[in-house]
Symmetry: C2
Subunit: 110 residues, 2 copies
DNA sequence: CATCTAATGTAAGAAAATATAACAAGAGTG
DNA sequence: CACTCTTGTTATATTTTCTTACATTAGATG
């Protein structure tokens, strides 16, 4: 099997100029949104930013919100809220799985 | 709907340095394989090469063949053979579809 | 063995892309 | 008005990429 399709979306391989072309945002804007903690490119050793297709999708969403007049600060808050939700969900799921294992899981032989 | 997952794989967005990192090939080698018509990056207006994940997979396959001692010329021939096969397949399919349309397709009212 | 070819490394110099920092400016708000 | 948010612009430095040319190595061939 080659690389999972999935992994392409998350792989940070795109430089800022290309991101700018695709999204229509200026490089200035892209760097600013990073400063406001809305996106998190990786860096090469020498400091060049690398983005993923996921980052680009994220930027598209940011554009929409900005056009609606939402400020970066609000967008960030919203992001944190969603993240927290996801965390809680996964914790809940883990707990449930824990319960199930406790009752029906592999038992120590005694 | 966002961009189709599929499209990520074909989008030419990666610069040669990154391709080099991922594949382990030198930039020299990557450009040489292009010269031998094994890969076909796009170019920006100013001439910078852009590769897709597909190109990277292609390069991985090339690496394997080269390690087996296959020469670029042979690899190219093999590529052309496969391409031709695909073409013929699609032509056959189109002809079949054409036949079907002729017999059962939309008819002009008379 | 003497050549040839294929594949790759390396170096030089130019051009393109990116990074950071600082200042400017418009829009909206208290 | 004074302030903040967002973006543009400019300058300068660094990094990346491009092309071309020459060198080298290994294998194939006469």
């Amino acid at each position: 099997m080659a690389l999972k399709e999935e992994s392409y979306k998350d792989k940070k391989v795109i430089t800022i100029g290309t991101v700018s072309e695709i999204t229509g945002l200026s490089e200035r804007q892209i760097r600013y949104y990073e400063e406001r903690k809305l996106i998190f490119p990786e860096r090469t050793q020498k400091g060049t930013r690398k983005y993923s297709f996921n980052d680009i999708e994220q930027l598209m969403e940011i554009v929409e919100k900005m056009e609606e007049g939402v400020q970066t600060y609000e967008i960030r808050k919203e992001m944190l809220r969603k993240e927290k939700q996801l965390n809680e969900k996964s914790v809940r799921e883990q707990m449930i799985r824990g319960q199930l294992n406790a009752q029906f899981g592999i038992q120590k032989p005694r």
